[in-house]
């Protein structure tokens, strides 16, 4: 499941659905990214996607992750539009036979999503709005997998 949503979502509801009815999956790892208030420095985050293209590009990486880590399943849900502090931005879940594969695949997918996925991000704060690019740390994190 790869999905973009414009409204707030509950990562717990996604995890409930993702874990249900698995009898051969020993391990489920998840990651939830939450918009930080940064002590008032960021009031709203605005994320733009290219519908269709963005899901397809994420899908390519999801396929890589499935093969590389032998995943049984995965789910990626990403908010777009305006996101307030404390609201979840992204949820990734990975299911595998054993925990190492589930953790690594989740970590890999997040490194990709944070540094290369087709989103454009604007931070609205008290001093105005600015477009954000991935940090050097984001690029370094992604390089770990090459």
């Amino acid at each position: 499941m790869i999905r973009l949503v414009e409204t707030a979502f509950d990562p717990g509801a996604l995890l409930s659905e993702f874990t249900r009815g698995r009898s051969e999956t020993g391990a489920v790892a998840t990651f939830t990214g939450i918009a930080r208030a940064e002590a008032g420095a960021t009031t709203v985050l605005e994320l733009e996607a290219y519908p269709g293209f963005t899901e397809a590009e994420i899908g390519k990486i999801a396929e890589q992750a499935r093969e590389r880590f032998g995943l049984h399943d995965l789910a990626i849900l990403h908010r777009v539009g305006k996101i307030g502090p404390g609201e979840p931005i992204v949820f990734v879940a990975t299911a595998a036979g054993h925990r190492r594969a589930a953790f690594e695949a989740c970590d890999f997918l997040m490194d990709y999503l944070k540094s290369r996925a087709p989103f454009w991000k604007k931070e609205h704060g008290p001093g105005g709005a600015r477009w954000v690019e991935p940090t050097a740390q984001d690029h370094a994190d992604r390089e770990r997998w090459t």
Binding site: H78, I89, W120, W131
Partner: protein, 79 residues
């Protein structure tokens, strides 16, 4: 004729997000956009700006059909 989509900072720069433009190729489309808005024309050729025709990335020129969707994608910020 093609449907043109701008994303991220390109949209702010141009002041629009989506328009129909008369052009039979990507090169002609870029020319038409630059003729009308020089700053946008320059930005479209800027570092890291990618172009997608019908949701597939293309390099260089490409023919456009009347129903083509052309997207200009500035460097992606990740989610």
């Amino acid at each position: 004729m093609a449907r043109v989509l701008l994303f991220g900072p390109l949209r702010d720069l141009a002041g629009w997000r989506e328009r129909d433009v008369e052009a039979a190729s990507l090169a002609a489309l870029r020319g038409a956009l630059a003729a009308e808005d020089a700053a946008l024309g320059e930005a479209l050729g800027g570092p890291g700006v990618q172009t997608a025709v019908d949701q597939a990335l293309v390099r260089g020129d490409a023919p456009l059909s009347p129903r083509s969707e052309v997207a200009f994608l500035p460097p992606m910020s990740g989610g």
